[in-house]
């Protein structure tokens, strides 16, 4: 392990605190503050992984995760960006996509096969003869992919989420972002500042060069950060990557937890009034042969290895750069002890004079108008060829590090995902954001500023603009800030070099997908002439780096290759997440929200097997065998108790209450009698039946009505929707959850009820279809209805939810001697099927109208003038004799019931079975089916085609309905 610096003010490591970890089965030590990648680097690791296609060796290139070069498996989690992930004690690090090791990969030979793999080659191969494709596909699948994930992998850690609101959200905690945040905060606004790195400071933070008046950039960063931290109304999220930006300034990000945090990572979704984007720049990769060879790295990477992580990237560094940060890096690394034999500067002129002097003072050779054209060395850089930009003169230098960087690329991600446009700017050579979305502002070096004061001034201006959006800043103040900017240096001139003078066979424009500039030429030649198509065809930018490496080089190169007069070509569309994010992190805290009825606990104790049905959890079975035989027989012979609390229950009152009901229900509800229950249905405008239920009149223009479970949540919305033009005065109150419902059914139901209530529940005193209100024990108010959904004597008791448990226990106690038992939803399903009572959605589908399922009797044709929803369609469809009709059927020769969903066929499909069962009550198989109208006549023979029947049909006959107790005596007894 190499010695680490411990004296630099910029260091983020604590060399006294050693952290053990496992790599390739052996224990290594890093230092507190290390990322996994820097810890490995300190231990001499230079080859981290192999590339996707050609298995080329890959090393540390950047520090911010623009490519997959340093992605590794950590503790079983694949594709971890080791350059941005902190080292933790005991972690196990493995190499990915290698056969053998990253150092010696048996598949390394593929790199020599690139001639056989031009862009899009797979579309032209492996399909002739057709037989080889499945075999080839298997091999492709194995070869593709990077990391490995076990199918039973359990993601450790805690994942959280927050949804804060603020006035101003600043993305980027560098000098511009911090200045903007401070400016907005000083206006009294609530500010959120998010920064991807674990600390504030941006590009000032790691630099020891002079900011102004002998203060270093680093010191300035610390000064600003201190000010930010002591400002109460700035909420700082560090180690928080911005991943998305949406309309109306919704900003998303994820934060990596510190040791003291209760979360491993957390998803942050911010609603901001105004946003400042100060995300800075990354470096634009230099294109030359073997430009991704281990040892080649960006200037910022080399400098931060030294200044932040306390180690030199190597012994001898050749530089091929196109900006002053490159010169600064050369000077800094030289001063820290590295040998710098040469700097090839793409620029002929325009260097910062002070830096140039510093270079010359150190006797470093600087070649202006030169560029690296090839990195040599099998697995690591050993030598570099540099040439004059016109490729007429060349020199070769020995080295172990090549710092290569063509220029800067602004990080415009948050702006462009929020629909800003990018326009090429000739001066900076940037694609600059234009047409910024409302209340979104850009600041800092992403606009091309390199001067430190200009960067901060642009942050101040953006912060004030954001305050202005929040109506907390005057136009005069904005004007001052603008003016202050004009007195400072504007954006710096950027280099125009796109690629070094090379043929480009091993010049990689996209590292992740091994796309060379030769591949780009091939794509363009084939007609894929815009970056978006080149990306799809060649893969450039489709890898985990998400365009970080090819982002701006691809459009620049495309324009150059096609010799376009000016650069109208745009970079490919940037798509969120701007930083790849764990599914675990996005999921955050997963709240499962279901409704439980007031009898939930009681039924669970009684052995109920629950299912999620819509928003509710309901007891579907009380029998382990799922046939529900005992439950069914007990209802038919004794008495059963069903929890019907999920039914929708509503009160409607006010002058237009009746009008409103007339609008949505097909029956004429003006005729409803007090003390009676009216069963009716709602249709949609197609005449398709969407809901059924009962209506009870409580008083003049005052009704209580029920809906099916599934429709409860939409009922108010539905009624208000269909009356939205009418200006009617009515009130709707949702009492669904307020009332528990017990359905007491079976021949003994009356005997049980008698024991609990004081009123007369005889057939004369409380007849079928009647409605009563009374109290039990002078305490529990009850709304009771006599209905017969299951075909037996039944009472439906609607009771305030808080009393439900007490009533449930009372009925159970009272019913003991009459063999009272629970029954669940499935038993009810069979019981009602035997009575041919329909359940909407089961006996009906989307296209089934009221007439099709034989419920036309509910439709009051005399009721006109209400514009009742659905009746126009019913009137029009009534004469159509090609529709599906609901029929009842029995099986031939006492055969078994067909499965639900079985088809009714002749030479084509003629209908399907809705519900069918081997009925215990009837001792035969019966069911209901939707069939074409010509098959609906009684006596029609039906042929059933079931799944997996192998052509063996079973047969039944259309019969009269209902099957059970056709006269309906039992429910009226």
């Amino acid at each position: 392990m190499m010695n680490r610096f411990n004296h630099l003010p910029t260091l983020k490591i604590d060399t006294s605190d050693k952290i053990p970890f496992t790599y390739k089965g052996k224990t290594y030590y890093g230092t507190k503050g290390d990322t996994i990648a820097t810890a490995l680097y300190a231990n001499g690791v230079r080859i981290y992984a192999r590339s996707l296609k050609y298995h080329r060796p890959r090393g540390l290139y950047s520090m911010d995760g623009e490519c997959s070069n340093t992605m590794m498996e950590v503790n079983g989690i694949p594709n971890v960006r080791t350059e941005t992930t902190f080292l933790k004690p005991g972690i196990v690090v493995k190499e990915q996509n290698v056969k053998g090791s990253a150092e010696n990969d048996f598949l390394g030979f593929i790199d020599k096969m690139d001639w056989a793999m031009p862009a899009g080659f797979y579309y032209d191969t492996m399909h002739k003869p057709a037989k080889i494709w499945p075999v080839a596909m298997k091999q492709i699948r194995k070869a593709a992919g990077i990391g490995k994930l076990s199918p039973d992998h359990h993601m450790p850690g805690k994942y959280d989420e927050i949804f804060p609101t603020c006035d101003v959200c600043v993305i980027g905690g560098g000098p511009a972002g911090m200045t903007a945040a401070l400016a907005a905060a000083q206006k009294g606004l609530r500010v959120i500042l998010m920064e991807a790195r674990p600390w504030l400071g941006g590009h000032f933070e790691y630099r020891t060069s002079e900011y102004i008046n002998r203060q270093t950039h680093h010191e300035r960063a610390v000064q600003l950060a201190k000010e930010v931290e002591k400002t109460d109304n700035i909420r700082v999220f560090t180690h928080t990557a911005n991943v998305g930006a949406y309309n109306n300034n919704l900003i998303t990000g994820f934060q990596v937890g510190k040791e003291s945090d209760v979360f491993t990572e957390r998803y942050i979704e911010i609603r901001a009034n105004s946003v400042v984007v100060a995300t800075g720049c990354i470096e634009r990769p230099l294109l030359f042969e073997n430009n991704e060879r281990p040892g080649v790295m960006q200037a910022g990477c080399a400098l931060r290895l030294a200044n932040t992580y306390g180690m030199l990237p190597g012994k001898t560094a050749v530089f091929s750069i196109g900006h002053d940060l490159g010169l600064e890096t050369a000077v800094s690394l030289h001063d820290l002890g590295m040998s710098v034999p040469v700097i090839a500067d793409i620029r002929e002129d325009g260097q910062d004079p002070a830096l140039l002097k510093a270079v010359l003072d150190r006797k470093i050779t600087i070649l202006k108008g030169w560029v690296a054209t090839e990195a040599h060395g099998g697995k690591q850089v050993k030598k570099v060829t540099v040439k004059s930009v016109d490729a007429t003169v060349s020199k070769t230098y020995d080295c172990d590090v090549l710092v290569a960087s063509a220029g800067f690329t602004p990080l415009t991600g948050p702006l462009v995902v929020n629909q800003a446009k990018l326009t090429y700017d000739n001066h900076t050579n940037f694609f600059l954001p234009t047409d910024l979305p409302k209340k979104m502002h850009a600041a800092g070096s992403l606009l091309g500023f390199e001067n430190a004061q200009s960067i901060e001034a642009s942050g101040l201006l953006a912060g004030l603009k954001a305050a202005f959006d929040c109506e907390n800043c005057s136009i005069a103040e904005l004007g001052e800030a603008k003016k202050a900017m004009e007195d400072l240096p504007g954006p710096a001139r950027g280099t125009k070099l796109v690629t070094a003078p090379v043929k480009g066979r091993k010049t990689f424009i996209c590292f992740d997908e091994d796309t060379s500039i030769k591949n780009i030429k091939q794509s363009i030649d084939k007609g894929f002439d815009v970056p978006e198509l080149i990306k799809r065809f060649s893969g450039a930018g489709l890898g985990p780096g998400q365009g970080g490496i090819p982002g701006h080089n691809l459009p620049l190169f495309t324009a150059k290759y096609q010799a376009l007069p000016d650069i109208k070509i745009r970079p490919t569309t940037v798509r969120p997440p701007l930083v790849p994010t764990f599914i675990a992190t996005y999921a955050g805290t997963n709240h499962t929200m279901f409704k439980r009825t007031p009898m939930d606990e009681m039924q669970r104790k009684d052995g109920g097997i629950f299912r999620n049905i819509g928003v509710w959890q309901r007891a579907r079975y009380f029998s382990k065998d799922f046939t529900c035989k005992k439950e069914i027989e007990n209802v038919r012979n004794n008495v059963g108790m069903l929890d019907g609390s999920t039914l929708g229950k509503f009160r409607i009152h006010g002058p237009d209450a009746l009008n409103s009901l007339q609008r949505v229900y097909v029956s004429d509800l003006s005729k409803i009698k007090e003390g009676r229950v009216k069963y009716t249905a709602m249709c949609n405008d197609d005449g398709c039946v969407i809901d059924d239920g009962v209506v009870v009149k409580l008083g003049e223009n005052d009704y209580y009505f029920s809906t099916s479970t599934g429709r409860a949540g939409q009922t108010i919305e539905w009624i208000r929707y269909h009356t939205r033009y009418d200006n009617w005065d009515f009130a709707l109150v949702n009492l669904t959850d307020a009332m528990g419902v017990i359905n007491l059914s079976g021949p003994n139901a009356r005997k049980v009820l008698e024991k609990v209530v004081d009123i007369d529940v005889s057939n004369e005193g409380f007849g079928f279809s009647e409605y009563k209100e009374f109290t039990i024990a002078d305490t529990i108010p009850v709304k009771a209805m006599r209905l017969g959904f299951v075909g037996e004597l039944s009472y439906e008791l609607h009771v305030p939810a808080s009393y439900m448990k007490s009533l449930w226990l009372m009925l159970k106690e009272a019913g003991k001697e009459f063999k009272i038992q629970n029954f669940g939803v499935e038993a009810q399903n069979v019981l009602r099927m035997e009575k041919c009572h329909v359940i909407l959605g089961q006996e009906s589908e989307q296209r089934t109208n009221l007439l099709d399922i034989g419920m036309g009797f509910l439709w009051s044709r005399k009721k006109t003038g209400y514009k009742t929803v659905g009746v126009a369609a019913l009137a029009q469809a009534e004469k159509d004799n090609t529709r599906l009709k609901l029929v009842g059927f029995k099986m031939e020769n006492n055969g078994r019931a067909p499965k639900d969903g079985a088809l009714i066929v002749d030479d084509r499909v003629r209908g399907h079975v809705c519900t069918a069962r081997n009925s215990f009550s009837l001792n035969e198989a019966v069911g209901m089916a939707l069939v074409e109208a010509d098959m609906s006549k009684i006596g029609t023979r039906l042929a059933f085609y079931e799944d997996e029947c192998n052509g063996e049909l079973i047969y039944g006959t259309v019969v009269e309905t209902p099957f059970y107790d056709p006269e309906g005596k039992r429910m009226k007894m």
């Binding site: 309309n247 109306n248 919704l250 919305e717 929707y721 514009k867 126009a872």
Partner: protein, 86 residues
Amino acid sequence: MALTITCPICGKRNGYEFRYGGEEKGPRPDEKDLTPESWCDYVHMNKCVAGVQQEWWFHRDGCGSWFTIFRDTTTNLEKETPEAKE
């Protein structure tokens, strides 16, 4: 989010709190004159405007109001008037 809707009662809110209720097509036509064509036109047919349209929304997770807004379907941004441009 991508979408916020301004509820006349609750103000500007996350679009997912609302239910979309269709293009504004005017009051329900009188049932007695409806032909299959005019019925179908009212019930099913849409203009599918790529631009600003008037449309219905219901504040499902909020105050329970139905109301109309103008929205540009090419940007998902609300407009104050049908003619409003950026």
